[in-house]
């Protein structure tokens, strides 16, 4: 299964927990919407409006929704687990809000774990990214000893060492200062452009130094 370029369409999508809450003012839920390739989207909403839920639905981790999500016209509800494995290897990359690093692996090992799924040797690239984000000196420290902001940067690098059509960023800068947000944004933009990919970014409403094409309110 190859998606290139991948159009993501939502049709009347609503997560079940949100549907139970009743009336919604949203440009995403219960509407027709497509995410076009190589486009940067920012979804903003206060907590509890389903930002992470949408990201998890798009990444195949949650199935408790009504309506449909289509990847190039194929409903994702019909996809097999092995299809998701291929998608996560080739088309979708993610920075989880809760980062999901292996605490007993070092920062470098966490990144290599992802990189080792692909034949290319990316150690120089990883080193460059780490230096850029100011965590090069921490690469050999176990992830559990790093601060949340440092871990966030490790998770960003991990998301960038794989091929993808879409980069899903779930509040990726929440623990970074504005200087680091700027550096990280530049790195992300560079890598996403190189891969001719799109971005779906969630935030609590802040703007980030990324050339967002469309802002949506959840």
């Amino acid at each position: 299964m190859k998606f290139n370029p991948l159009i993501i369409s939502l049709k009347n999508l609503i997560p079940k927990p949100l549907a139970e809450l009743g009336s919604l003012q949203s440009s995403v839920w219960l509407s027709e919407l497509s995410f076009q390739p190589q486009t940067y989207y920012q979804l903003h909403a206060p907590s509890g409006k389903g930002k992470s839920t949408l990201i998890h639905i798009l990444y195949g981790l949650r199935k408790d929704y009504s309506g449909e999500v289509l990847f190039d016209n194929q409903p994702i509800s019909t996809m097999l687990f092995s299809d998701w494995t291929t998608l996560r290897q080739q088309s979708l990359s993610i920075v989880f809000q809760d980062l999901r690093l292996f605490p007993n692996l070092t920062a470098l090992e966490n990144i290599q774990l992802k990189a080792s799924l692909y034949p290319e040797n990316q150690s120089i690239h990883i080193q460059e990214c780490a230096e850029l984000l100011g965590i090069a000196h921490l690469l050999n420290h176990p992830a559990e000893t790093l601060s949340y902001g440092e871990r966030q940067r490790v998770a960003i690098i991990r998301a960038l060492v794989q091929p993808f059509q879409w980069l899903l960023l779930d509040e990726p800068f929440s623990h970074l200062d504005s200087k680091n947000i700027e550096i990280a944004s530049q790195l992300i933009e560079k890598e996403v452009n190189k891969k001719k990919a799109g971005i779906i970014l969630t935030s609590l409403g802040f703007d980030y130094p990324l050339p967002i094409h469309q802002k949506l309110t959840l």
Partner: protein, 393 residues
Amino acid sequence: MKTKLLNKILLANKTKLPFIFSSVGFLFGLLLLLLSLQAYFQIKQLLSPAANATDYLILNKSVNVANSLFFARPAFSEQEIKDLSKQSFVKDMGIFTSNQFTVSTVSNSQIPLYTDLFFESVPVRFIENTPSNWDWKAGQAIVPIIISQDLLNLYNFGFALGQGLPQLSQSTIQLFTIPLKIKGIQKDTLINAKIVGFSDRIPSIIVPEPFIQHTNQFIGENKIQQPSRLIIQVNNSANTEIVQYLSQQNYQLNQDKIQASKAAILIQFALSAISLIGIAFIALSFILFSTNLQLLIAEAKNEIQLLLQLGYPAQTINYHLLIFSIILLSTISITAFLLFFLLNNILNHFLIDNSLQINTSAHFSIYLTPLILIFVATLLNTLSIKYLIKKLQ
């Protein structure tokens, strides 16, 4: 790199004690099984003669007081002979025909000795190294005789020494012509006999079948008589079926060959018991082992789920856990082998010191057993790992 990272994620910091316990159980069970298998094959080899060697057993019924009082011959009935010939261990069967006349030597200058004798005959195919002149036709002047080697030994080492008679070699005794007097209810006659061979197999004085039939008919009682001795050919006298059948029928045997099979029954029983314990150990450690694998997967549940989320194919994780279990089982098997060879070596030294001739090399099934076990375990683990990982998706 990937393997190292997966090891660190899936196996490091996980409970290892249960694995050590089940490994020791597996090791012990395998060692027990290997040792009893080796012992089984060695004893089997010791008890069974070369591949297609055959043994001959001579059977008779027990003689009891009634036989002595009433002159009743403990003979085999037609039915009994038929039943015996149907037994799977009987390859061939021959009937002893005995004389229905009296026979005695006539003392002369060559043989200054008078003795009563008896004759028996068996079908020629039961006689080992049949002499070339082993035949008799009516009117033939000299009857060939084969005597038991034991009989010659009895004469040479018992009789001759005590009576001041010369000891006789096999070749000397064959030079003599022995005059015999045959006396039956029909008539008497004189005939010459010559010893032409010696038998280890048949403890009797045997003459060609045509001679005994002719003499019974024309000199002796000329009646049909049920045989009181039978000779059977078997493949392996240590076959435990023989002992069981014979004791059930209350037949007696001339040889102590059958003792081996009595021992074999006991030894096989003991070895089966030990093998069973070994197999039980292995079965238990199998269960323990697979439970530990489940525990390992349960403990690494979050890690496995995260690996799947990162795009790791389930097969990669299955394969990694499987390789881990194969390496562990192989290590145990190799250790069991080393211990086995060590113990086997010690045992063989003991056997050689006690001058037991035994093939000390390991039987091929010794090598096969752990391979089969690893194969079966791997098959079971493959299924259980696949099932458990699928549940985590």
